[in-house]
Symmetry: C2
């Protein structure tokens, strides 16, 4: 299976940090004010964020909050 883990990149004063948001993500779709994530177990999460970057061989999807 080729799902990935989704991380939110947070720009903290001590530097950017990656916070795990969801494991085994299958789809990421834009919504009216952010994105919707669905994993291979059918769990869904909504986040006011956008897709920042991908590292698929590492199974990583990076998200950022809008505006950052």
């Amino acid at each position: 299976m080729c799902e990935a883990n989704a991380y939110l990149i947070e720009d903290l004063p001590e530097g950017p940090q990656e916070k795990l948001i969801m494991e085994a993500v299958d789809t990421v779709e834009p919504t009216e004010d952010g994105i919707s994530l669905m994993n291979i177990f059918g769990e869904q999460k909504f986040l006011k964020a956008r897709i920042h970057s991908l590292s698929l061989v590492d199974h990583k999807v990076f998200l950022k909050t809008e505006g950052s």
Copy 2:
């Protein structure tokens, strides 16, 4: 390997179409005016686009041109 194929979604008068941009994509990173794609063979492409959505179990990354 968990790379994906990157498709550009084009909104044509007859409906949205998916145009294959790159196969076996590993990383997608933002650049100053778009994105940079790198595949598992080390080939790199720059595109004035953003990541629109993901369907990872289907090995698909969807891109859209800025503004569309």
